[in-house]
Symmetry: D3
Subunit: 237 residues, 6 copies
């Protein structure tokens, strides 16, 4: 029995609220249960130095947690003077995931930065960030389309993410914090709208896991992401 | 004529939404027009080293802006590795303002950290932070009261803040960004519920200002803060 | 009775010694009683990036304290790797104050950096820095004039600063360290030669203060700055 | 055809040279083809603060690359003042992998730090680090055993790692740099001596990958790690 | 012929002004020609962690240059966030030099920090710092003596320093900046009152130098330091 | 009697293994007894900003120690976020030493960076770095010669370095760690193939030393470096 009484393959209630920022070219507030992430997409006319002059664009992501998004207040990274390894790892993951569904040549020599800031954390902040980050990115691309900024559509597909884990011996979908902190194995899957895999990251927190468990988690993740993609489609409709 | 059509002594619509964080001991989302600040108050059982063993508590504040809270995306301070002078200046101001209405002996040897994170900026983020920060602090003190954590009330009075400025030659109340970026003089006033002054900070951005203009701004600020204190009272009722 | 036996409206002995640096385009050693600040003005042919190509110049300031300028040795900021919030706040104040009396168009596309380094501290280091910084700036402008570097005079007016406070219930002028550390309210006023206000910063350290006290402090500050401007005139004569 | 002419399931020549450091409690130089990593295990009598007093130990890892271990010289991280996200990500992975086969209670309140420094890089530095890091850790534990520092064996199992990828449409084992830089998908598998999974990290660099490809890569990885564990056994025999 | 017309073995005019800081336990302003260094000695009751509980004291030094102590304004190290290699090298040299004449056991478990801040630079700032730093240290020890803080004298001997160089083919004493920037070889000698060597640092800036030149420089340095020690004795008389 | 039983003028066994890096333009692994330093020379087509456009090149060096190159594990400088004063001092010394035998005009507008990374430390890491660094630099210059990258030979002479010290009252050559940690005086000499001096750095660790001792150490160093230059010649033959 999961602490939240959810079925093994049941997502938390997911809400996606678009257009929450008056300044950003695209934005949404995404909630996976009590987890809340504010995602904004910012368009800039310059690309990183190593891309300059090549006619291709770039999508990058940054991630942060508000100091009291967590049960205990965390130290503010701006004040400690460095981003933690966890933060850097997550923002690299978000960036890779979003780039997987973007055609950089069609984007043109521009950069879109997707900021994912966790207002409240209850497990799954990175999967919520990818899922909501895609919506912000989508709206930024629509903003560009409305201004005729590209010739052919650069956004290739949906992408969304969900966590799975082995909790109390069973494989379950979309871990919340009470599950996440107890899980023997914790995995994150990033999957496209077409059902192909972008990222698989599975870690044994306690005992190692089996190939069978990996297979079960992947199956759960595929149904979970399919549902998240539906919700993205509803949100942007 | 102000860009927003407001009268010279007219505040923007102010909303204070309490209890927005499931983790923090006190929290609110405060809006001054399009400016939105998430304020949380976090209680800890330890005080800074120089206060240890004295039986007195401390209230401190931290301030940050989300990278795309502004018209143009700003660099994330966690990534640049240092908080700007402006950030440090504002969080010192918020801390001093809130300490002015707290009796540290009655608080006991504990620290309350008030985090003010700007989700969206349209001028007046520091005054919104102080005004909302007080509500978060109040709720944290109520949380403590419910747990019999002190003998006599440590929160002495309300405190709120508002900006004034000389815009197009006239003194006006509660500048939004379009006014703030054009104002000849920009001033912030922090005033208690009892109408006494905690902080006055007035800066000529263009031409220096006169004693008369300072007096006019102070008069506007007193009416503005009185209104903000009423709104605080409504919010906590 | 003030610890120094001074009357409420009495400045400490102020001395301004010009030309103390063989390298700087302008320099002075300014003393407010036992407070000693070495001010240098350095001319450079480049401006900050955001001003480039616009034909306008810039005046900026940096502030530092020698580690043993204070009663207890402070940690060296170069060694701790960051400037404190107080340092950044003060150098921003000095810069704004000096810019208020400089016509950037007439200066031309050049930057003047005024460094204010506190050799010995006894209260009022920021007001001494502004008062002495103006003299260094003036001499730098004279250095430029001697080389025909501008067509019409860019230095518009004098500017000087003084602190006031509420000490033992009375409003007093130009606090030294023993007063400053005990004052209920501490205020700094930056005023031009023409008597107009550039900056007003008043903070309650203990109990909040009244509008009347603010008015009294402002009146004291105006007489104090008028005297400081006379001393600047004597110094540059 | 692979650039190195290897078969799809063929590891590069792997060499493990033990006892290369006269100071470290355990050490080895591991080579996966031209990739060379110096691994040392350092025993300390203190644990991180959050573990203190609990009687349990800790295993952690640090990772670095010599500036000219790569084709182009990289900036030295000690000089740039921060470790890159990639570095932090890899050292977190190495640490988690080694902890998965260590019983922290049996280790006692001590920390073992495994340093993995890349002398020469040709792809697969993280998998070589885990594989060689285990040998250094093993020898450190033997060093402790020789001094009767624990009652029952804390090292539970072997652990080793290998990369797989989709290169030119085919799934291949143990990518070298020419393959790694061209691969459509890049995956790392950390597997115990008993064949259970500790970490799976698969990333699409170009097109997303399929469940079938993930399965093929996992199958390759299992045979590869089984071979690496044999080589570890030979090395420590 | 030297630019300053001095004889090859002639020091610049040296002045040592004691007691220039009202806060420091010992202080002096030392001038070697146009080079001016403010030296303060600060006594603290704590020692570095690795000395704690051993009953021995420590002497350390810090060094800094005011931004416009030089011909061209330098970047402020507090602002750049790190001390340069040159700064660290010099302050390590000053510390070692002063420790060479202090008996740490007799000092007791206390630390004296000697800060050497260059107000104006014209070559020889490190040698002036050591020479003046000794006077500040001496006065700090006298301050302690006046308070009966030790049983037997911890300050063993004088120590002073001077530079020599090969300029225009000739060996000369006490280089000023015009010589220093042109010298083929630059050397610094730290020598005790008893004429023994504490530090010798000689560097070829252009062509390497000969053993004979090293000998000539050493001979010059011995007479120079003997003269500096006389001046120290006069200063403390 | 030296701990290693060596004669006073006896070097440790020195080995120089060239071509140890497949990526670097020049490289060697140099051993002075148990001290092992990996030296690589990296050629780049750009020079530091202050040299740009002048047609001259630059040689610079960086130095690092692996965390467990030492008896006790040291903190990794990449992780602490700053290079120590000792590290900066040593890498400046290596750079100056190598530049002393390079004609920058003949090198052309290119930079060679010599990285010296200590794999194992047993005293004399800086002297081994200079001695081995020269070999790496030499091979880099040969690499350039093979590609006709200069008209006339830029490498003027050999350069090598050795330490001397006063150990147990006697002057000895090439200190290992047990001697170095006990020596009263520690000196490093950098000498060209032609026997001229590039750097002399002698420090009293305990009692000051005499002119005679300096002379004895210099004599030892000259024979030591002559032997090291022979070994360099054998290595590059």
């Amino acid at each position: 029995m999961r602490p939240s009484k959810r079925a093994a393959d049941e997502l938390r209630p997911v809400r996606i609220e678009r257009g929450v920022s008056r300044h950003a070219e695209g934005s949404c507030l995404v909630r996976f249960g009590a987890t809340e992430v504010l995602c904004t997409a910012s368009l800039e006319d310059k690309v990183p130095g190593w891309l300059r002059g090549g006619g291709k664009g770039w999508v990058t992501a940054e991630y942060g947690m508000l100091p009291r998004s967590t049960t205990e207040r965390m130290r503010r990274e701006a004040s400690s003077g460095r981003q933690s390894g966890r933060t850097l790892e997550i923002q690299r993951l978000i960036g890779r995931s979003l780039r997987a569904v973007m055609d950089m040549g069609k984007l043109g020599e521009r950069q879109i930065t997707v900021d994912c800031d966790v207002l409240q954390a209850d497990g799954g902040t990175r999967t919520a960030s990818i899922t909501g980050g895609w919506v912000a990115l989508h709206d930024c691309v629509r903003w560009m389309a409305a201004r005729d900024m590209f010739v052919s559509e650069p956004l290739i597909d949906h992408v969304a993410a969900v966590s799975c884990g082995v909790y109390a011996g069973a494989t379950v979908l979309d871990l919340d914090y009470p599950e996440d902190s107890e899980a023997e194995t914790d995995a994150n899957f990033v999957i496209t709208g077409g059902g192909k895999l972008v990222e698989v990251q599975a870690s044994a927190e306690g005992d190692p896991f089996t190939e069978e468990q990996l297979g079960e988690m992947l199956a759960l993740a595929k149904t979970g992401v399919a549902r998240l993609v539906e919700l993205q489609k509803l949100a942007i409709a």
